[in-house]
Symmetry: C2
Subunit: 357 residues, 2 copies
């Protein structure tokens, strides 16, 4: 342990060397675990390290290597549970490999995404975990490709010809949702989504539609997709329900393809005084802690965050260590939690107390 060392300059490897009566090179070798050092000298080094409280400066240590022990993580946002957990997991995984994680939020902007990436390239990070704003074909992935960076794409991504990808198996999960809703008797379902996140949303939509149509060929599936912003979706949804009301028709269930959509749907239900599941059923892609304590609890598709994070890091580190071969696209299975917000159509009063149980 360090003795006093108030707020002085921290000891460098040379301080340790002179204290131990050896050269800096020897200290470096001892700390790196090289065996060609006399045990006696090694001991002196360890003693000096203890005495001075010496710790390697990771910055200086990284200077000479081409790939520094830094991993960059770029997420579209930090505010949601999903990406919050993701960053937390990634950080832990990087740390346990002796790497530092530098995380940045692209705030849903592809321009910012590229800027951040350029800055991380300046840092000569060993690898990047990129959760693109839109999909695998954005400018960020292009930048990575053009600059020979190693990285892995996650979440809003299906497969790529240059980078490994890891994401939730949206299609399979959506198929399961379709089976559940159809099984409950729903024959008119609205799907809500954000359009430009092409890859994932398309997978979720098609997975749902294909399965539903296969089970009930004449099922009616309406789709409301906003371009890229959440706000327009609110209007679109409101208009959709108003038009339906004019024609005296209304879906009995809503499947939201992403978290914000679930919030928008709930908000719209509130505005219209509709209750789940009596007036309408609701399932959302993406789970959140609050969904199980509200009344009713909201049914949701749970993405396997841990698995995505851990597989992304695994494959990333394999690439960093030089593993070759074509990029692989990995899909992790989701869990579908059918909570109280889903019921059978027309089984409850159109307002008033929710189903107890």
């Amino acid at each position: 342990m360090a003795h006093r060392e108030t707020q002085q300059r921290r000891p460098s490897i040379h301080d340790v060397a002179s204290r131990a009566g050896v050269s800096a090179a020897t200290v470096s070798k001892v700390l790196a675990g090289v065996t060609t050092v006399k045990p006696e000298n090694a001991q002196r080094v360890f003693d000096a390290v203890d005495l001075l409280g010496y710790r390697v400066d990771p910055l200086a240590s990284d200077m000479r290597r081409a790939k520094r022990r830094i991993i960059g993580a770029i997420m579209p946002e930090f505010e949601s549970e999903f990406f919050g957990q993701m960053v937390s997991e990634l950080e832990a995984l990087a740390e346990q490999r002796g790497f530092t994680l530098v995380a940045a939020s692209s705030r849903e902007s592809e321009a910012r995404e590229k800027e951040i990436l350029a800055r991380m390239h300046d840092w000569r990070v060993a690898g990047i975990v990129l959760a693109p704003v839109r999909n695998e074909h954005g400018p960020a992935a292009g930048f990575m490709k053009a600059n020979g960076m190693t990285g892995v794409l996650i979440d809003r991504v299906l497969a790529d010809d240059a980078f490994d990808t890891v994401s939730a198996d949206s299609a399979a999960a959506s198929a399961e949702v379709a089976r559940a809703l159809v099984g409950k008797g729903h024959r008119h379902i609205l799907v809500v989504g954000l359009g430009q996140q092409a890859a994932t949303v398309r997978a979720r939509l098609e997975g749902f539609r294909a399965t539903a149509l296969q089970l009930v060929p004449d099922i009616r599936i309406d789709v409301v997709l906003a371009e890229s912003e959440v706000e327009p979706l609110r209007t679109l949804l409101s208009d959709y329900f108003s038009e339906g009301a004019n024609r005296g028709e209304r879906p009995t269930a809503v499947y939201s393809l992403f978290l914000k959509g679930t919030l928008v749907a709930l908000s719209e239900f509130r505005r219209r005084g509709w209750h789940c599941p009596d007036d309408i059923s609701l399932v959302g892609f993406d789970d959140a802690e609050w969904m199980q304590v509200t009344w009713p609890a909201i049914a949701a598709v749970v993405q396997p965050v841990r698995e995505i994070a851990s597989n992304a890091m695994d494959v990333l580190f394999r690439r960093i260590e030089g593993e070759g071969g074509p990029p692989r696209a990995r899909l992790e299975p989701c869990k579908v939690l059918m909570r109280e917000s889903v019921g059978s159509p027309g089984s409850g009063p159109h307002s008033g107390g929710g189903s107890r149980q």
Copy 2:
């Protein structure tokens, strides 16, 4: 713009120097904006920079300075909206000053908090934004003090004799909650919290209690505090209500001092089949996006995340630049959103449809 530059070694300052026909020192000066360089040479440097697509290596650049252009941020978790927004804000603020933010989650562990801090010290970060797990007197703050690090403490903190602090004005907000609940006629209120986060929780509790007692001296305020984990709170709360039921008494409102407590309370209400606000009213410290779309919408105290982040960074950078003087404790005012989960006691049926609108 860089021409091809596939995945070769990136150009260094020497490459630029030789291309421009000057020395590396001159290049460094030009890029640093030193004026003692002949305009012609400066132009040649800029041209070479453009041609090669040169960018300064921040790591190498930081090598010589004692304080590196890195800011460390340590949060208890990343999963909540509050800390997610906080990290997002801090990152933006650091970036706009040319600093890189390295964020890490202590995962509510003081031991981890100190480890992370030690690692950041290894990086010779210029400053630390620490949101301590417990309060300002934890081991992490001690470590910072002992090592002469500069930093600012935020969130679960009131004031410190070594570091500046920035946090929400918990006491004032709680007083406002008290006024609101008392105004609605509540005379028996339960306060739920997590005990060991001493500073903040005490302020919230005392701010509430003092104001409530001042308004209605014989008001009854029960308190359920868990030590540090959320899970025990669930049991404590359940026991509290069961005991109350045995004696035929029950509070008419619950004030949760932190987000998880609000979730636990809601969960307990569900279990007992109680609805807000007819059976019981609820206010929580900490707002979340979902609280305004659920039915009922949950009343909450909104913490001024942006203000806290921005003030924390301001004061931190002032200290980094060497400003002296005693540490200052800053309190940012909160906003209290009284939503539908709060009503007057005994005004609604004990179950069934919530109040519309």
